[in-house]
Symmetry: C2
């Protein structure tokens, strides 16, 4: 990472910054990740964030939009263990994980908060609420939000490694338990 000088390639540098931002935002939330850390992780100068994205906030907003065209802004079924496993594993590839932090702690920057919540609603809360409604829950919305909040807590706790067993558990294990819970909550 250190010795070899890299070829000059703005597009590649931009992509490295975006990738590093995705990982760090997912791990530590928006306020928790500094531009200097992101720059270091991407092996690029932090000032380039302002140049290529406009601001840290804009970088965050862009990090919410998955690049892998595959997943887009498509809804996510959190009661499916396999889907959930993918979400946990693919922290870095632009999953909804960065957005989950918006539920846990209100972001200082309004633009950032709004963008994150929009992603959260579209991809996680709305699908869950639909499912709960179909199952006949009168408090479908509450149940959906509760499930997403719980998921946010689980993923955040996993990435801090503050809770040992949770930090060390495989994505599949965690996903299986969590999906079971959400199924119970949303389709009783």
């Amino acid at each position: 990472m250190s010795g070899a000088r890299r070829a000059r390639d703005a597009q590649d540098t931009r992509a490295r910054l975006l990738a590093a931002a995705r990982t760090l935002f997912a791990e530590r939330g928006y306020e928790g990740a500094t531009v200097r850390e992101i720059g270091q992780a991407a092996d690029a100068d932090p000032a380039l964030i302002a140049r290529y994205f406009g601001s840290k906030a804009a970088l965050y907003v862009e990090s919410l939009r998955p690049s892998g065209a595959a997943t887009g802004q498509s809804p996510i079924d959190i009661t499916e263990a396999t889907v959930l496993t993918g979400v946990i594993e693919r922290l870095r590839e632009g999953g909804p994980t960065p957005a989950l932090h918006a539920a846990l702690r209100r972001h200082d920057n309004d633009e950032v908060q709004e963008a994150a919540l929009a992603t959260l609603m579209t991809r996680l809360v709305d699908p869950a609420a639909t499912r709960a409604t179909e199952a006949g829950s009168p408090d479908a919305r509450l149940r959906a939000e509760l499930a997403v909040a719980a998921l946010a807590g689980i993923l955040a706790s996993r990435s801090t490694h503050a809770l040992e067993a949770l930090g060390n558990a495989s994505p599949a294990e965690v996903a299986a338990l969590a999906a079971g819970l959400f199924e119970e909550l949303l389709a009783p």
Copy 2:
């Protein structure tokens, strides 16, 4: 709050600072609450935090120890809806809520992180793990930590009001749904 000048009473001022700190730490986490905000909420000068507690970190550590001798460092059964209701309602009186943030985001200050985790373990994770073990779960620890992580997410999301239905739901409603989940997870 503004007009009437208060009598000079160091003990009372200290108590007001502690109360304000409990509320704000519970709502926004350790890093999210500033000493200036705490001072304003307590109607006291922020500099008094350093004088009376030593530092913001020490204030946080003290805020983890409930003052109401009642609850002490006693274990909390998160599968009991009534108990959980109390935890949600009594954010400000020194419940374990401030400590829950330690699971979600690692604190900058090591002393703070350690103290919060210790509280978390003693009061929430250990009792839950014991219960799961008694129920015969091989992955009791993981289940216990998962439950606590989920609880942390739910309470944090509630206090941000980022998720509307969750933010507006009554403590009892939230507690009932959450307790059901945890029961399912810990005593299947």
